[in-house]
Symmetry: C2
Subunit: 142 residues, 2 copies
DNA sequence: TTTACTGCAAACTGTTTGCAGTAAA
DNA sequence: TTTACTGCAAACAGTTTGCAGTAAA
């Protein structure tokens, strides 16, 4: 039995082709950050006959099960990535669309201090740096 | 001539009722962070006959003119606020929906350092803390 | 009086849902 | 053989756009 099968069973989902294929896709490093539409497209290209609605359903289930994480880097489409134990933030290269992960303990701890100073505790947070390669000609903010 | 009229002229927009009303709304402190739908609703309640499409158009124009700023706190609807010279980040109370602004020089400078370490420069960034009042019963992340 | 602006309704994009059929357990 | 899952198409929410009329300059 494959790893994906085990993971699916563990979270109480039937082992079906769409789910296995999609999970495999996320576990493949070079597609770390991907949208529903992209998942769908890749399945098509791989010759798998999976509907877009199913992709959305599976992604939603995976997120609920804690297998993947959903991000809203822009207001248009959501981006998913394999959930990992280690928290990290994101940098988006506005020219290439590439997504880079990073962690910074200083920022992390400041966030908690700031919340506490205001009488709150952090439930979740989102930090995204929109960047461009150094020495690139400067454009006004997106 | 009112302040709003001057501001509109300055950015090359005709002084029309929808624009003046909407600009006034943003300059009224207690509606600092507001969605298109909310702007529309408030206009309705004030008896102003302004279409939703116009609200969206005006908000888009105001953003292009640098009068207001657009945020995507969640993936659903955009939130706008009056543009200000001083940069700040946001804290969203997940229970009340209230939006709190804050600035932290430590976080700001770390962000630039991190980008530089990766060979990038920051074009824009977004930091949102999703928080709940201290001592509230804990719910899993949203 | 010219040209930008507006309201309306229709279009669009990303996402969700109802349903009847299909496949995992 | 039961029940979850799927594909399809239709529905949905937020936002945008074409058009004929209206108002600012």
């Amino acid at each position: 039995m494959t790893i994906q099968n085990q993971e699916l069973k563990k979270v109480g989902l039937k082992v079906t082709l769409p789910r296995v294929k999609i999970l495999q896709m996320f576990e493949n490093d070079d597609v770390a950050h991907i949208s529903a539409e992209e998942v769908y497209k890749q399945l098509q290209e791989a010759g798998e006959d999976v509907g877009l609605a199913t992709v959305y359903r599976v992604l939603t289930q995976f997120e609920a099960a804690g297998l993947i994480t959903k991000h809203n880097f822009d207001g248009n489409h959501a981006i998913y990535e394999l959930a990992s134990d280690d928290h990290h933030d994101h940098m988006v290269d506005v020219q290439s669309g590439e997504v880079i992960e990073f962690v910074d303990p200083v920022i992390e701890s400041r966030q908690h201090e700031i919340a506490k100073e205001h009488g709150y505790e952090i439930v979740d947070h989102s930090l995204v740096l929109y960047v461009q390669p150094l020495n690139a000609k400067k454009e006004p903010k997106v």
